[in-house]
């Protein structure tokens, strides 16, 4: 099946007539929140199945429950009392033999007051089929059109080819046994073979009864036949009881497993929260200690710095004083200090040791030197000047160092400030991380007060329940195997009796019915085995593609038919535990896509894959690869994606990546962007921009 076009008129956010054209291969439609993406997905659902999804209630509603709400607000606003407003969605599609189908659903309401509408109970459906060879057309209406649609787009398969990615619970439910069975049964049409098997065993039972009820000439043989038949019937009945018991135990195990998963999830969540809270506490303590450090630094430096600040500006005055002193010293206006011992030494040696001239006793030089003797006042004066000079030097040095010390203080203080800011960012990030795990209305104190021991006990009890059911299942399997062997032996004996029967027609009928029953059973077993193997192969291919950038994942995916589960295993075939949510969803998508693809190839019927936000729940790394994989898998895919151009979240798929993909991927022939026009709620309508 290939959808060529969808026409949407006055339906939900679509005002007037809007057309999307599609080709074989992928079509990508992007739009930000509230631009009509999901309404487009609703349009497909409405035209095919008369339903649209109410996001706020997370439920599908039929047209009669939607009433006037299903019609575009602007179209309603523009209508006048007494007039009728109509909405319609049409799709044009072709089947594998090129026959054309034009399907239209319409709904109308009549304005009877300002805000009152006379609403029709049901929508009207019409389907026009054009034969590709004869070009003859046939139009079917309502129930007849629905009947025709049943074989083209069976509703039970709709959730797989009309894939609603945002409804995560629907995807995740594939984890349980019944959903696994349903997906496999629905998509692979294996039910055809199961049904055939049911019919052959029913007919065999009837024929067997006829054979047994017709008395054989040989009385002993007849007696044996009857007894063995009763034993076989009893064993078959017991085996069926055991089968049922096994199935029920499986269901109970599934329930216990769901409880265990929930308890385990709850415990993990709380443990995760507790770790984050401990980290937050630690970071807050660090922040507090840094605050104290900064305060201490300020306190320690404050007095010193303030004291020094008082001298700020005196630098030049002191510098002037020093220059004045040095200048006078150079000009020898300040006499050099001469020690008394040195004068005595010069008089004794009769030589002036300042200028080097001889100063014999009695000479003028000698007298001049003698003049300095005992001149302590001069000595002290010079000493004082020198001391003043030294003080001035020290003062200058210290005043000069004021700026560098302030700088050191500033640097230290600034570094602490940076550390505090960094800690604040970390605390905020941790608090946000915490809120992704727990709802905003749960306080931190509530988490801190959780009784972990109790949570652990609950989880362990649930695990014990699971193990109990697992053990019970093993016991039943063992019992079943034993009964099967017994049944086999009895059947062999019975077959030898059948051989000896003289009732030819009944006997041959029974033999043929048994052969057919066995062929169909064998055929079913072989088909199922091949199906599971093909599905496993394709699931692996798709899962690997989707998670190729995830280095944490390695190994294979196991499609475990016995336990009706799909899970990743490591190289030693051990089940991998604790894979993250994004990978779990990738696995579910890969599994559904694999069944759909294997089934499509086998039955040569190709459903278009129409998907609304298929990757919204995936992590950043898996997003683009998931889209690319979907593009590769399906003959036709119509993928609606959220455009997070304005989102800062690094985990969101970046807008430019998807736009680059649209431009550069040659398989993508059509791409649209949706925008919302209109200021008020009752004027808003989707605007379609063709990107490619």
């Amino acid at each position: 099946m290939l959808i060529r076009r969808i026409e949407i008129e006055n339906f939900l956010s679509y005002y007037d007539k809007n057309i999307f054209e599609f080709d074989e291969g992928p079509t990508i439609i992007i739009g930000q929140n509230n631009t009509g993406k999901s309404k487009l997905f609703d349009a497909f659902n409405w035209v095919l199945y008369n339903r649209a999804f109410k996001t706020e209630e997370e439920k599908w509603y039929l047209t009669r429950d939607w009433g006037a709400e299903i019609i575009n607000n602007l179209a309603k606003k523009e209508s006048t009392t007494g007039n009728t407003v109509e909405c319609s969605v049409s799709i044009l599609f072709i089947d594998e033999e090129e026959n054309k189908y034009y399907l239209t659903r319409e709904y109308s309401i009549k304005k009877i007051g300002k805000k009152d509408w006379d609403v029709a109970k049901n929508s009207e459906l019409s389907l026009t089929v054009t034969d590709s060879i004869t070009n003859n057309t046939n139009t079917y209406y309502d129930k007849d059109a629905d009947e025709q649609l049943y074989s083209l787009f069976p509703e039970n398969l709709s959730k797989y080819f009309l894939f609603q990615g945002e409804n995560i619970s629907q995807i995740m439910s594939l984890n349980n046994r019944s959903a696994f069975n349903k997906a496999l049964t629905d998509l692979s049409r294996i039910e055809v073979f199961e049904r055939a098997q049911r019919y052959t065993s029913k007919v065999l039972k009837k024929i067997k009864k006829e054979f047994e009820n017709k008395d054989d000439v040989d009385k002993e043989l007849q007696e044996k036949k009857k007894r063995l038949s009763e034993e076989i019937d009893k064993l078959t009945e017991d085996l069926a009881i055991q089968d049922e018991l096994f199935e029920n135990t499986c269901k109970e195990r599934d329930i216990a497993k769901a409880v265990y998963d929930k308890k385990n999830e709850e415990l993990k969540k709380n443990e995760e929260c507790a770790v984050i809270l401990r980290e937050i506490d630690y970071l807050k303590k660090q922040q507090q200690s840094k605050n104290e450090l900064r305060q201490n630094l300020l306190d320690a430096q404050k007095k010193d710095i303030f004291d020094r600040w008082m001298y700020a500006g005196t630098e030049n005055i002191i510098k002037g004083f020093l220059n004045f002193y040095k200048k006078n010293k150079v000009e020898k206006k300040i006499p050099e200090p001469i020690r008394q011992e040195f004068i005595k030494e010069m008089l004794e040696d009769q030589v002036c040791k300042v200028c080097g001239n001889a100063a014999p006793k009695g000479s003028n030089e000698y007298k001049k030197i003698q003049g300095y003797l005992n001149d302590k006042a001069l000595d002290q004066e010079i000493e004082l000047i020198n001391q003043l000079s030294l003080v001035a030097d020290t003062m200058f040095e210290k005043v000069c160092s004021i700026s560098s010390e302030i700088k050191t203080f500033y640097n230290k203080s600034n570094s602490i400030d940076i550390q505090i800011k960094d800690l604040q960012i970390k605390i905020k990030a941790k608090e946000e991380e915490l809120r992704t795990i727990i709802p905003a209305d749960v306080s931190e104190d509530e988490i801190k007060s959780k009784n972990f021991a109790q949570l652990q006990r609950d989880r362990d009890n649930a695990k014990n329940d699971c193990d109990k059911y697992k053990l019970k299942m093993e016991q039943i399997s063992f019992k079943k195997e034993y009964m099967r062997q017994q049944l086999h032996e009895k059947k062999e004996k019975y077959d030898s009796i059948v051989e000896s029967s003289s009732n030819i027609i009944e006997k041959q009928r029974f033999v043929l019915a048994e052969k057919i029953n066995s062929s169909v059973t064998q055929f079913y077993t072989v088909f199922l085995k091949k199906l599971i193997s093909d599905i496993e192969k394709e699931t692996n291919t798709y899962f690997r593609k989707m998670t190729e950038k995830n280095i944490a994942l390695s190994g294979q995916v196991k499609v475990d038919y016995e336990n009706r589960e799909v899970y990743p295993v490591d190289e030693a075939e051990n089940r991998l535990q604790n894979i993250n949510q994004a990978n779990k969803i990738s696995l579910q998508i890969a599994f559904v896509a694999a069944i759909l693809s294997v089934s499509n190839k086998f039955w040569r019927t190709y459903f278009p894959f129409v998907s609304d936000a298929p990757i919204s729940a995936l992590g950043g790394n898996n997003k683009l690869t998931a889209v690319e994989t979907m593009i590769d898998i399906f003959n036709q895919s119509i993928i609606v994606l959220k455009d997070d151009a304005v989102t800062d979240d690094p985990d969101s798929m970046r807008n430019d990546l998807i736009r680059n993909m649209i431009q550069n991927n040659n398989h993508i022939k059509n791409a649209y962007e949706l925008r919302m026009n209109g200021e008020t709620l009752d004027e808003q309508c989707t605007n379609i921009i063709k990107l490619k």
């Binding site: 055809v192 057919i516 039955w603």
Partner: protein, 66 residues
Amino acid sequence: MKNTEVKHQIENMLQDLKKQDKQQYNIVLSLLTEVFVEYNTGKTRNVDKKLYEMIDAEVRFKTQKS
């Protein structure tokens, strides 16, 4: 899904049976085709009754022949 296509697929799957036992092959092919049509249209087709009749007719034909 077109019935002709389905029949073609089922025929492919039953190739081995066709070589082994033509009598069984004919019945299983008709049975699976009937079941498929019933599954595809959602309308009951009394398949069990038809199967019984096919087996009975086959046996009677064979018995008469011998």
